[in-house]
Symmetry: C2
Subunit: 271 residues, 2 copies
Amino acid sequence: ANFTIMVLGESGLGKTTFVNTLFTTLLRDYKRPEHRFQKQLERTVQIDVVRAEIEEKGFNVRLTVIDTPGFGDYVNNQDCWVPVVEFLDEQHQNYMAHEQRAQRQEKDDLRVHVCLYFIQPTGHTLKPLDIEVMKQLGSRVNLIPIIAKADTITPGDLAIFKDRVRDCISTHNIAVYSPPVQSDDEENTRRNQSILSAMPFSVISSENDVVVNGEKVRGRQYLWGIAEVENEAHCDFKKLRNLLIRTHMHDLIVSTEEAHYENFRMEKMSA
Amino acid sequence: ANFTIMVLGESGLGKTTFVNTLFTTLLRDYKRPEHRFQKQLERTVQIDVVRAEIEEKGFNVRLTVIDTPGFGDYVNNQDCWVPVVEFLDEQHQNYMAHEQRAQRQEKDDLRVHVCLYFIQPTGHTLKPLDIEVMKQLGSRVNLIPIIAKADTITPGDLAIFKDRVRDCISTHNIAVYSPPVQSDDEENTRRNQSILSAMPFSVISSENDVVVNGEKVRGRQYLWGIAEVENEAHCDFKKLRNLLIRTHMHDLIVSTEEAHYENFRMEKMSA
Ligand SMILES: Nc1nc2c(ncn2[C@@H]2O[C@H](COP(=O)(O)OP(=O)(O)O)[C@@H](O)[C@H]2O)c(=O)[nH]1
Ligand SMILES: Nc1nc2c(ncn2[C@@H]2O[C@H](COP(=O)(O)OP(=O)(O)O)[C@@H](O)[C@H]2O)c(=O)[nH]1
């Protein structure tokens, strides 16, 4: 299977570290994944495409992650989302063009199955830029808001911040990805409910391993203690990784290649 | 003495918490300081003036802190510093107008003796907005850059980040406040050198007290440990507070009311 994740958000929120952490915790004998290519979208945003083969439940998955350095980093960020939206549409466009031909290059299909939008952990609420960008993207791609650098917020404040972000999302009618909850399997249903109630996911990432109770774990070592990436009491990294790679990859792919692609085709046909 | 501090920087960097932490650690029997007034500078920036009487070395100091909510919080932050620069100039203007009259209302003198500019702890370098604002302000007011939410960065990364910020400041010729180092007192000279080498100061703030080793201290309680505001191994809050209130208040006042004010008067006379 081909699975493409985009990470989006202003500089310094730990997106690149998150990508490394995701690959490292997925690939047992981790070596730097293949840097596929870089491309300048406009003078403002660049896309960095990183790819690696991972094995999940015996299946091979070609995991592609698209990082977006430069996004939202200027004094004037008016319309900074436009190059990103154009990139997303272009992938559908290319697929549509190729679909009508017999031969199609699978590895060039960069349709984005999920976009992780990184939110600065201000403790207040979403910023005007976050709201505008998520509104624009939510209707075009499976959008999952992420609270970045979650080790910056104390547990009580994190709960309050999640509530405010959720309120803001519903007030502004932002279409965020909502994992299907109901399932024939009762345990699945319960897990889906717990996923849904944890959203927006709080994430801690690190490029280092540290020792906790004699065990090597991925974490951030402060003078006052260690914030652990895979400790579910510390953040939702594991929940997010499970959703992306284990439980909901299929739904993210199908909804992109069916629902979102169909919307795109309809818009193009009626235009 | 009258001493006025301005805190400046985008929303969510802990400025308001810093102000509370500063007052709380200065006033033994802390009750909320008097909220003097609020004023809308433009549609974009507001100033909140908070004032309290503190006692320092037997002297009474009327400490005024000016918070600046709204600054830098928009999609387009072009020229967001203009209302702030105008506010600073206006205070000199008002003083100049009154100076020429016999009677002067001391409590209305809001000339800013030091501006603390809060930098987001991205781990990379200064943002374009930071550079632009600090260039504009550095020539008009004693400017001290602060690394906000310093509990977000691990010790090694903090040292690297401080270096990058210092490089960026010198590359762009930003005029930051440089405390006089040489002193007749050798201990003073040594302390001044240590202050200078710690800049830009890293700051952790908190509205809560927590218990560490049976003692009540101001800090942030995470599941993995407590980041302490007044622990010099954790951040430079104490160094900053000492500089502002204890060792360099006089120099900050004199340089504002003499050097900066004189520059302003010269500019006005030659205009
Ligand atoms: N506190 C904290 N810092 C992080 C986290 N993830 C990354 N960082 C640090 O934040 C800085 C910027 O990270 P980077 O991945 O380059 O951010 P990007 O600009 O969004 O790609 C680096 O110094 C990282 O070590 C996190 O989860 N928590
Ligand atoms: N990690 C961390 N969070 C802080 C610190 N100071 C304040 N905060 C939190 O950051 C959030 C925003 O703080 P606030 O003072 O309102 O920021 P302001 O918008 O700059 O005035 C609140 O949830 C605070 O508890 C700090 O030093 N470190």
